[in-house]
């Protein structure tokens, strides 16, 4: 049996303190298998992004158990969480590229976190990843010289260049038009499938739902699976 990439058990989350304390997530339980593409939908304010930041080790887990890549996040030290983040590929709503770096340097920033990749290879690797997202001719451009779709593709290259087992994406198409949005998600989907990475993708965009292996729906902090294969292996 393969270990799940993400195992979430009874996770609840609160914002604020004292009388202003507000529960955002209620007893979330789900798993994501290796290589699975999960799309999470739901109205804004439903807690999708909060769940994504918990999985991404960007927030500390308050209650319940959250295992990502086999590691328990609850009570984990800041250092442990930072180490874990290096094995997750992130794609943000805005591209969040470093404006002072060229496209290939942006991709290389991600490679530098992995000391096992020799420095001599890192530029080649960054450029071949840019080629894979169709930006071979744009590698030396600065982000300000790229279109929105191109920037998002650089961000995908940055997220995937180190073959992460897990890719987290928060509305990657939000800032893009219909055509380039679809393109971007397809590139991400194809590359992740090729590398065997699991994807958790938060979106409002109905046009890309067909790429999902499974769709989960979040409403008012509670999860309802639409296309569930309920814990088939467990």
């Amino acid at each position: 049996m393969l270990q799940p990439i993400i195992a979430i058990e009874n996770v609840s989350h609160y914002f604020g303190a004292g009388r202003l304390r507000k529960q955002i997530l209620f007893d979330i339980t789900t798993i994501v298998e290796p290589g699975e593409v999960v799309i999470m939908t739901g109205p804004s304010g439903s807690g999708k992004t909060t769940l994504l930041t918990l999985i991404g080790a960007l927030r500390s887990t308050q209650s319940g158990s959250l295992k990502v890549l086999g590691q328990e996040l609850r009570g984990g030290s800041e250092n442990k969480l930072v180490e874990l983040r290096r094995n997750i590929g992130y794609i943000f709503q805005a591209h969040n590229l470093l404006n002072s770096l060229r496209a290939w340097q942006n991709v290389q920033m991600s490679i530098e976190l992995h000391s096992e990749i020799p420095a001599s290879e890192s530029r080649d690797r960054a450029e071949s990843m840019l080629e894979a997202v169709g930006l071979a001719d744009w590698a030396t451009q600065y982000p300000s010289e790229l279109s929105g779709g191109q920037k998002q593709r650089v961000a995908i290259a940055r997220a995937l260049v180190c073959n992460p087992k897990l890719v987290l994406a928060d509305e990657p198409t939000a800032a893009l038009d219909k055509k380039s949005g679809r393109d971007v998600v397809e590139i991400m989907h194809d590359l992740a499938k090729k590398q065997g990475s699991a994807i958790v993708l938060v979106t409002h965009d109905n046009r890309i739902l067909d790429l999902a292996d499974r769709i989960i729906h979040m409403e008012d902090g509670r999860l309802s699976s639409l296309d569930v294969t309920p814990l088939a292996n467990g």
């Binding site: 930041t53 290096r86 992130y90 969040n96 002072s100 770096l101 290389q108 920033m109 530098e112 600065y142």
Partner: protein, 412 residues
């Protein structure tokens, strides 16, 4: 350390901001260089005379505080010291400020007269280390002949030029000092100080002719030369034992210092080093000058710190989302802190270079305008570079607190 020099790339990307930052830091560096340079020039000029005196031990009156405030003392003490073992020779030195009349005066608004330091010496003695004085001091045997310092301020008149011009025809520059006619018999190079705008050397006899109220037996500095191989400390100890009167030392000074600086009866005995220190301390501690220049340097430092802080803070704020992204990717706080500090140090070094070059130019300008011995020294360059780096590190450490605000959870 990092394949991608993020700090440098970020600075380079904002060219205008980088130039403004460098201008600001360069300005602070220049300010510090000028203040420290003026201060050093002051102390340097104040002791140029001391450094060029050809002696090992000096006697002065205990009431003398600096070259511009000398009290004379009886030359008996100097002749007594001639008898101490180790002493090779002695020379009396007379000092006085006299009013010099510019013989080439072109009328108002400039003033025709100006106060100049007159140094009287025995023409046969070797008092100065300056070769030009040695070469010309035979002239001083003549009545009313003086040697003129060509590094004196220009207000004394174009003595140097006229001297050279007249020499060809056998003429001499004639002027008046303290209303007595004198002739310039030669030139030497010593330099103006904050205390004296110019210098004249003449014989002891001529000195008393110029300052007719000075009594014969009273001198201002007693210069003592030791035999080659004589031990300075042991000889000073003999002065301590054998000069008449009570031994007094400054209780605030260390034992080492009091070995080279002590008062016996009516004279103060100093080694050359202590004599120089006495003059420096007078300007440093008992005038406002040391304080003013230190304050000026501190202000340059503070101005620089504020400018660098502003630049770094804006830079961090602009890149906050990017820093949060880096944190989300798995970069540690330490990496981001190192980026900010690298930026600070790059700014410090890059701002220092134009500041250093411009300061050398300003030093030249000042030297030509004031005849003060001001020049770039390696020590000062290193000091200011260290101050500039410290300045940037301080502002960096205030600005990095902002980096902690970069919260990766906010960017999803």
């Amino acid at each position: 350390m990092f394949a991608i020099p993020l700090a440098w790339l970020q600075l380079k990307r904002e060219t205008i901001r980088l130039l403004v930052a460098l201008a600001g830091i360069g300005f602070a560096v220049i300010l510090m260089f000028l203040q420290l340079g003026f201060q050093d020039a002051l102390f340097e000029s104040a002791v140029t005379l001391h450094q060029n005196l050809d002696g090992d031990i000096f006697l002065i009156s205990p009431q003398s505080t600096s070259l511009i405030a000398m009290k004379s003392f009886p030359d008996r003490r100097l002749y007594q010291s001639m008898g101490f073992a180790g002493v090779e020779s002695i020379s009396p030195i007379y000092l006085g400020f006299g009013i010099w009349k510019n013989p080439f005066w072109e009328g108002p608004p400039t003033s025709q007269t100006r106060s100049i330091l007159v140094i009287g010496m025995v023409p046969g003695d070797s008092v100065f280390l300056l070769p030009e004085v040695k070469a010309n001091q035979a002239q001083l045997r003549l009545t009313d002949v003086v040697l003129f310092d060509r590094a004196s301020r220009t207000e004394f008149g174009p003595i140097t030029e006229k001297f050279e011009a007249l020499k060809a025809t056998g003429g001499l520059v004639k002027s008046e000092i303290e209303s007595r006619r004198v002739e310039v018999g030669g030139l030497f190079n010593l330099g103006a100080s904050f205390g004296a705008d110019g210098n004249l050397i003449t014989s002891d006899l001529n000195f008393r002719r110029i300052f007719s109220d000075r009594k014969k037996g009273l001198i201002d500095i007693g210069l003592i030369k030791l035999k080659s191989g004589a031990d300075l400390e042991k000889t000073l100890e003999r002065f301590k034992q054998n000069l008449p009167g009570e031994l007094r030392t400054d209780p605030k000074k260390t034992t080492n210092q009091t070995q080279e600086d002590f008062v016996v009866g009516d004279v103060r005995v100093l080694s050359k080093k202590a004599f120089i220190t006495l003059e420096e301390n007078y300007w440093k501690e008992s005038t406002a000058i040391g304080f003013i220049f230190t304050l000026g340097t501190a202000i340059g430092f503070v101005v620089g710190t504020v400018i660098v802080y502003q630049i770094l803070y804006t830079d961090v704020t602009d890149h906050l989302a990017e820093y949060a992204t880096l944190k989300a990717m798995g970069y540690k706080n330490r990496y981001l802190l190192s980026v900010v500090f690298q930026e600070a140090i790059i700014l410090a070094v890059m701002g220092f270079i134009p500041g250093y070059i411009l300061s050398i130019g300003l030093y030249n300008l000042t030297r030509n305008a004031t005849a003060l011995p001001i020049a770039m020294t390696l020590n000062r360059a290193i000091l200011v570079l260290c101050l500039a780096i410290l300045m940037c590190v301080i502002s960096g450490s205030i600005a990095v607190r902002k980096v902690q605000d970069a919260d990766p959870a906010d960017i999803f």
